[in-house]
Amino acid sequence: MGVYVHIPFCAQKCYYCDFYSVVVSEDFPTLAGNYLVSLRQEALYYRKIWGEQPLDSLFIGGGTPSVIPPEELAGLVSWLLKELPFVAEPEVTMEANPHSLTAAGVEVLSAAGVNRISLGVQAFQNNLLKSIGRIHRAEQIGESVEALRKAGVDNINLDLMFGLPGQRVQDWLNTLESALALEPAHLSCYGLILEENTPMEKWVSEGLMEVPNDDGQAEMYEAACRILKGSGYEHYEISNFALPGKRSSHNLLYWQNKPFIGLGSGATGYIGGNRYRNIPDLWRYMQSWHEGGPLYEDCDQVSVEREMDETMMVGMRLLAGVDEASFCRRYGISFWELYQPAINDLLARGLVEWDGAKLRVTRLGLFLENQVSAAFLR
């Protein structure tokens, strides 16, 4: 179980992104300072509700956490590690942009406990980076990785994207090659999703921008699976690849549908069967903590039936599949009993396979995973 902290600040909004964040302006230092105070208030609030269940991971995401001065972030991290019931050596991940990391900064963060960095690389072609609104340049990627290693952080993830406007299959192959040359412990390869209310979605729908179609994306995805496997990476989740022993424990808890504390404006959490989303409005978020309590955009009590559905829905994203015995231990019932007709249909369609212990997606099912997941929604 873990903690997610949302840092809703960015130097610039990427055109495809629909996460909540505000672009930093002149009052940023004060704003960030106040925000970090609210985060601590919120953490203390959940500390009481959470109890003593051990936390194995902390994930600082965004937005762009690295726009906040390293000293301040380091302060927050070490404080959280001290105040919340973390295990002895938790995985502590921070997201960062290649342009905003310095060796000195990383050393401060590392000293505070950050031991894993997820770099928003996306592509190694400056024209593609520009077309999606990223502000870093390809040259900065290698420099950042070098700085991280120098500061002793070797557990590095690179986020890559395919299906970008104007991206050719060859561009994607080059991106994979450049990424592999940096020898990261972990790689996430995401197909572009045109989210509603993003500039990119608007441009594409208006015909001002063209992105590769589904077939094009499928081809790029196929290439990533093949090449990364050939380079020794384990494909363990739809979009995630890791060297042995380097899987992201924090993200695994999402795919295992485990509880987690979410902190920050726009963050979601799942505590005691309650799935909540904090108000995605920095100022109202801070105001509510100033007044001493949470302000949710949504807060739903998830029934056990629904949680079982969702456990299957997210669990089937893992290539290892869902283990029947663990499911039984958790819910006191076999998933066969719950979903037999759906599972049989998926088996007949060749989308999943059953080895007597685990139900998992086939290669075909991997590409059509929505159809697998949807089968478990009652």
Binding site: V314, E369, S373, L377
Partner: protein, 598 residues
């Protein structure tokens, strides 16, 4: 008040020429409604009046008017439906009148519907009062309209009344002209009672309410009335006139227009055009002109999920209470399961019913392609009526097939005559005649297969004429035609609900078009789906829906779990609206695709 002080009239107009606004002004002017009470366009509104649970449709309004001759008159304004699908209903409304206001937009001039309605009115020997409306508009050209009237209809220009329904200018002149020129009703008060039903509607508490015009004799509350077409008898519980609030009356005499409530179960007891008489002293001859509503267009209506079959039947039952023209009978399709074959007056009627079923009864329906009724002459000389392609007998048993033709009248500005001819030609039209209403406006007459009109003919006509064409048509009769059955196969299996009957010359292009259209609307699925069009055993077109290669969300982290669930649920909801044919998921639009294919 005597019969000679009654005037029964209706307003006929092309759509948008201002009929409703004019009716409102007349109501207002005669004090039937005060300006403050007026909801916009009173005659158009339904369920306007609720009184002791009776819903009243303003099918006829009784107006009191003191004319310049110092006498009081009763003016009955009778509403007419505005669409060609309901031309029979229009004709019955006209038959209830002695005169008609022919409303023409001062800037648009005479349109096809204006003429069609005018001819209908002349057929009923109505006194025509031309009303040139919207004279306040900057582009009004009443002189031109007067010329059109004189040159083409032969109505003297000085007879026209110039008005602006918007400003109220000229309304008084209309009322005076009605009193002066429209003759009073001619019925015999002593003769056996005869009243003509020109409209009806169903009220959930009181049953069917008939709107009728008394021609001879009287109807009184408490009397037993008899429907002359069916012989069925009912006791009159209430009589009323609409002024426009319901005013109860004890009797209705010759020339009177009112509503009759007589515990009639549904509108099939009050057939439009039927004659009501009094059982104790029945008339021997009904009024002329009654014909039972006969569906011209048929289609299959199927619930998307089989469980809704009973709900669909209940809904059709309910709609039929208020719609005597709607027919339905159970049928089944190999592809779609159990449903109903429904008959309609025309496409608009079909669309109205379909929409009401989906909206008011919350049903998810698949509508199969509309079909006309073909007369199939078999080799043994017998004739079989076929309104469903799958009911077509084997080719070897067919001697020939006849299809219904209509006479279509199309009016357009001169510059679009060529375009209209192209469209009609393309739709197997036979040119009959062309005349110029004015030097700039032509009226073309074509004979067209009704089946071709069902295929978005009017939309095509509109788009080719920048929206200027106006269309009216009437049934002509059956003609021999070289039609064949076109089948569609998905994954190699014929889908009965996608079959259609088409003219031989069009089969190839229709088959290709349909296959292409289906390729567009059938979503990609896990496996490739071949689409084939065939006549008999001969494949004439083929398309393929390629297999779906990717249907997966790249990201799904903590915050995305609820989102993903919602997205998948939405996808699932969409799937529910699709029909599973074998292993192929087919969306509802596919079954209507044939309408959009040339």
């Amino acid at each position: 008040m005597g019969q000679r002080n009654i005037r029964n009239f209706c307003i006929i107009a092309h759509i948008d020429h201002g009929k409703s606004t004019l009716a409102d002004r007349i109501l207002e002017h005669t004090g039937a409604v005060s300006k403050r009470d007026m909801s916009e366009q009173l005659l158009d509104s339904m369920d306007l009046e609720r009184e002791r649970g009776i819903t009243i449709k303003l099918k006829a309004v009784r107006l009191a008017y003191e004319a310049k001759d110092g006498q009081e008159y009763i003016l009955n304004l009778i509403d007419t439906p505005g669409h060609v699908d309901f031309s029979y209903e229009v004709s019955r409304s006209l038959a209830a009148c002695e005169g008609a206001l022919l409303v023409i937009d001062a800037s648009q001039g005479i349109e096809a519907q204006t003429l069609a309605n005018l001819y209908l009115a002349l057929d009923h020997d109505l006194e025509i009062i031309p009303v040139i409306n919207k004279i306040d508009l900057p582009n009004a050209d009443p002189e031109r309209v007067i010329r059109e009237l004189e040159d083409n209809i032969g109505i003297p220009g000085e007879d026209a009344v110039l008005v602006s329904a918007r400003t109220g200018q000229g309304i008084e002149d209309i009322l005076e002209t009605i009193v002066e020129r429209i003759p009073p009703p001619q019925g015999d008060p002593e003769a056996p009672t005869r009243a003509m039903i020109f409209d009806s509607h169903y009220d959930q508490y009181r049953g069917a309410v008939a709107y009728a015009r008394v021609v001879d004799g009287t109807i009184k509350v408490g009397e037993i009335i008899q429907m002359m077409s069916s012989g069925r008898q009912f006791e009159v519980t209430d009589l009323g006139v609409l002024a426009p609030n319901l005013v109860r009356v004890g009797s209705l005499g010759p020339g009177d227009v009112g509503c009759i409530i007589a515990s009639m179960k549904d509108v099939r007891d009050t057939r439009v055009g039927d004659t009501i008489t009094v059982a104790s002293r029945p008339a021997t001859q009904p009024l002329s002109g009654y014909r039972p509503a006969k569906p011209m267009v048929y289609c299959g209506l199927y619930p998307v999920v089989n469980e809704e079959y009973t709900a669909l039947r209940d809904a059709l039952d309910k709609l039929q209470l208020n719609d005597a023209a709607l027919t339905y009978e159970a049928e089944s399709s190999a592809a779609l399961g159990f449903g109903y074959r429904c008959g309609f007056l025309g496409l608009l009627h079909l669309e109205i019913v379909q929409e009401r079923l989906e909206r008011e009864f919350d049903l998810n329906l698949i509508t199969t392609a509309p079909s006309v009724v073909y007369q199939v002459v078999l080799t043994d000389g017998s004739v079989k009526e076929v309104d469903n392609p799958s009911a077509l007998p084997p080719v070897t048993n067919i001697d020939h097939i006849k299809e219904p033709f209509v006479k279509a009248s199309i009016m357009v500005p001169d510059e679009f005559v060529g375009a209209v001819m192209d469209v009609c030609q393309d739709r197997r039209g036979i040119f009959v005649t062309m005349e110029y209403i004015t030097p700039e406006r032509a009226r073309l007459e074509y004979e067209l297969p009704l089946a071709e009109i069902l295929m978005d003919f009017f939309d095509r006509l509109k788009s080719r004429t920048k929206g200027y064409a106006s269309l009216d048509y009437e049934f002509l009769g059956y003609r021999e035609s070289e039609v064949v059955k076109l089948d569609i196969l998905l994954n190699g299996n014929p889908v009965d609900a996608l079959s259609c009957i088409v003219h031989q010359d069009k089969a190839l292009s229709r088959g290709r078009g349909l296959a292409e259209k289906l390729k567009e609307v059938i979503p990609r699925q896990q496996f490739e789906v071949p689409i084939q069009a065939a006549i008999g055993n001969k494949i004439i077109a083929r398309e393929t829906v390629r297999a779906l290669r990717k249907d997966v969300l790249a990201k799904c982290y903590g915050g995305d779990i609820s989102r993903k669930r919602k997205l998948l649920e939405k996808q699932k909801e969409g799937k529910k609206r699709m029909k599973s044919l074998g292993s192929v998921e087919v969306p509802q639009e596919a079954f209507m695709a044939i309408l959009e294919v040339d």
